[in-house]
């Protein structure tokens, strides 16, 4: 490798370890993406099926690196006023009414009204003006309108915004940015170009088993294996909505809380709705229950 010094794999391994301590198990792809995002100061765009832990990735990284988390949940109709800043109209009105002084000039009042005192910073402005480095989590960016996405671009490329009355505000410390998307629509090429792309899929068997054992403390290995077998078998069935990791974890905790150290068909049947949420899917799985139980293995505890 000419001109490129060889770098050992320690930093990526360190990220994996740190994230694990923060309660999140990364595979190589995820750890490499986090590492690159940190080194290249680029936002990460994480896509993947619902409930595989895209949002959790951001939260866990903020715990691991001790970065304060600022979260912006996107939805249809989200606009600059709610994402960036807004003038506190009501406070301004009170100020005007409290100050009915015929002598006072409008100019003085105006300078006063449009000062930081009356500014309501929303997540994006907070992330930019923060004195310390923060983690900005822009959640479900696919739910926001196209116009908002375009506006986001400006912020993501320079990390500065202009507030007409106050001037340009640029970031003191570059925030670490994670965007998540459930792909309900295609994001623009421009946004994709500016981000590192990370696709998070359902994890491999061994890693998912580790995730269950990490997130449901005290679950026995045997029970975790059987829980996983049920989930992965159900995922292979032709369903409208397959059980996600978060649903798997909910279900595993429920099974554990109910004091069961084993898994039988009565227990599975009564808790199935935690795992499978579409009515039609539920009927389908119920019909296949004996086979599901068989696939989860014999009882040998």
């Amino acid at each position: 490798m000419n001109a490129m010094e060889t770098v050992d794999s320690a930093p990526v391994e360190a990220i994996k370890k740190g994230m694990e301590e923060a309660g999140y198990l990364c595979d190589d792809g995820i750890a490499t993406a986090l590492f690159l995002a940190d080194r290249l100061s680029k936002p990460i765009l994480a896509e993947g099926p619902a409930g595989v832990g895209k949002t959790d990735l951001g939260k866990a990284y903020s715990r691991y690196r001790g970065l304060p988390l600022i979260r912006l949940q996107c939805y249809e109709g989200l606009d600059e006023a709610k994402a960036l800043y807004e003038w506190n109209y009501k406070k301004q009105l009170l100020r005007i009414q409290a100050d009915r002084d015929p002598e006072g000039s409008w100019r003085e009042l105006e300078d006063d009204l449009f000062s930081e005192e009356f500014l309501l910073p929303r997540p994006l402005l907070k992330a930019i003006t923060s004195d310390t480095r923060v983690l900005l989590l822009v959640d479900e960016v696919d739910k926001a309108d196209v116009e908002f996405e375009a506006f986001l671009l400006e912020i993501l490329s320079d990390f500065q915004v202009s507030v007409p009355e106050l001037g340009t505000v640029s970031a003191k410390r570059m925030p670490f940015v994670v965007l998540t998307s459930n792909r309900t629509r295609d994001l623009s090429e421009a946004l994709r170009r500016r981000c590192l792309y990370l696709y998070i899929d359902f994890p491999e068997q061994a890693r998912e088993l580790q995730i269950i054992r990490l997130r449901v403390p005290g679950i026995s290995e045997r029970l975790a294996e059987r829980v996983l077998a049920v989930v992965r078998y159900i995922r292979g069935m032709d369903l409208k909505k397959v059980p996600s990791i978060s649903e798997t974890l909910d279900w595993a905790s429920a099974v554990k809380v109910m004091g069961a150290d084993t898994l039988d068909s009565a227990l599975l049947s009564s808790t199935l709705s935690l795992l499978v949420k579409e009515q039609k899917d539920l009927e389908k799985v119920r019909r296949a229950l004996p086979e599901v139980m068989r696939q989860a293995g014999r009882e040998t505890c």
Partner: protein, 465 residues
């Protein structure tokens, strides 16, 4: 080749295959390679993928190009001989097969890889030493031949079927739940297959040069770009898999466009109500939403032979979007026409399609399409219900088996309906060749649109919905 140059060539290869890589992105890739550990292949692959490929749908294409570029024959030849080269020398095929079976049941990756390599060497010896031996025919055989012969020698298909049955019954891996054991087994089988193939390629390249070993593998095509008319069974399966996502995305796009009409008239009432919170000063102006009218859709589907795949997908797509239309009525035909709207009212689009093929009466005569007759039946039976808000959508290749196209029937329908659109799954250059009579109908439609794959279909629906 210096690394920078090689990376540039690689990016060029990606672009040639249709991936869009901007200059900014390729700079990111260079940047990434400067910081990422390069002591093994995977971080390298992850770094390039995160910076260069921005959609998961493009991953298979990227991986295929990456493999052939960075793990191609050149890299294989550079692999040091590892001693475990020919463990099965002189072994008879039965023994070898048994060893493979044991390794796959055991699930130890290193064993599986070693055996796959051994098996590749063994089949080479048996089949004339990869062209190095005395059989002249062996000089012409490519990697595909050896892979086929090798799998046959090992009785691989039957072995893996047996193993799978045992795994599903829970007889393979002791206490491990069968679902997990089966999944691991399938991965191991894939590992064996891949390693076997790579070793065949490597040995061939060693004996006869790289050219002989080149696999003429076609690069994967995105499911939404596969032609309806010549999709393989597997491709149709993949298309089925991506269709719900496509429909969801399309619905979101259409809904957004419908809601984009928010710059309607000022809503005085609402504005005044909101002004109360700012002391009666109307700081925020509220607007009334403008709701665009929805069209009423009539779909006529040709369900004969090869056009059927296309009609299937279109029907499914239309019905997953049904809330975007005021009403949808659907008809299928081969040489006669039958209404199938009721099938879709009670069932899922999937079940409904099955039902359509079971219940609809679409054949009178010999089972060859007669589009003219179907159009005439439609005109006679239903044209009275058409109005200016109705859109008629006809899906057919217009191959009429030399029968009368009966274009005047379509002309009459077209006069009553608001719009008539024709979607043809054939490529444009095949229109009006052979028994295609699309030209006779074209004048009576607002447009005849080429619609060869899911992508074109989705684009059409978006433009018209």
């Amino acid at each position: 080749m210096p690394v920078d140059q090689k990376l540039l060539t690689f990016i060029g290869r990606l672009r040639e295959s249709g991936l869009q890589v901007s200059i900014a992105e390729s700079m990111d890739a260079f940047e990434a390679l400067r910081v990422v550990p390069l002591d093994s292949m995977e971080p390298f692959r992850h770094a390039l993928r995160a910076t260069l490929v921005k959609s998961e749908l493009d991953f298979p294409l990227f991986d295929a190009i990456f493999d052939s570029f960075f793990c191609g024959t050149e890299a294989l030849l550079a692999r040091p001989e590892d001693g475990g080269e020919e463990p099965a020398a002189g072994a008879d095929p039965g023994d070898l097969s048994e060893q493979v079976r044991m390794a796959l049941s055991g699930g130890n990756a290193a064993d599986i890889v070693a055996l796959a390599r051994g098996a590749a060497a063994a089949i080479g010896r048996m089949e004339g030493g990869f062209g190095g031996g005395s059989r002249p025919l062996a000089l012409m055989a490519g990697p595909g031949y050896y892979v086929f012969k090798g799998m046959e020698m090992l009785d691989f298909a039957r072995m893996t079927r047996d193993l799978r049955t045992r795994a599903e019954r829970g007889e393979l891996a002791g206490d491990v739940p069968p679902a997990l054991a089966t999944e691991r087994l399938l991965q191991d089988i894939e590992l064996f297959r891949r390693e076997f193939e790579r070793e065949v390629v490597r040995l061939l390249a060693l004996r006869r040069g790289e050219e002989a070993a080149r696999r003429r593998k076609r690069l994967p095509v995105r499911p939404e770009e596969v032609d309806f008319l010549n999709a393989s069974v597997r491709q149709i399966e993949e298309m089925r898999r991506v269709l719900p996502a496509l429909a969801r995305k399309l619905a979101a796009r259409i809904a957004r466009r419908h809601s984009a009409g928010r710059a309607g008239r000022v809503d005085v009432r609402n504005t005044l109500r909101h002004s109360i919170s700012s002391g009666g000063v109307p700081l925020e102006v509220k607007y009334r939403k403008r709701v665009p009218a929805k069209p009423e859709l009539w779909v006529l589907c040709d369900v004969s032979g090869s056009v059927r795949t296309f009609s299937d997908f279109t029907l499914q797509l239309v019905y997953s979007l049904h809330q975007q239309f005021k009403a949808v009525r659907s008809f299928v035909f081969i040489d006669r026409l039958d209404e199938v709207t009721s099938c879709f009212e009670k069932h899922d689009a999937d079940d409904a399609i099955e039902r359509v093929y079971r219940d609809a009466v679409v054949v009178d005569g010999d089972g060859h399409s007669d589009i003219g007759r179907a159009l005439e039946m439609f005109d006679a039976g239903y044209a009275g219900e058409l109005g200016p808000r109705s859109t008629v959508l006809i899906l057919s290749d217009a191959r009429n088996n030399a029968r009368d196209p009966r274009a005047p029937a379509l002309a009459r329908t077209s006069e009553r309906a608001g719009k008539v659109h024709w979607l043809n799954p054939e490529p444009r250059d095949k229109w009006d060749t052979g028994d295609s009579v699309i030209g006779a109908y074209e004048g009576h439609c607002e447009a005849v649109t080429e619609c060869r794959n899911l992508k074109q279909l989705a684009d059409f629906v978006y433009r018209k919905a």
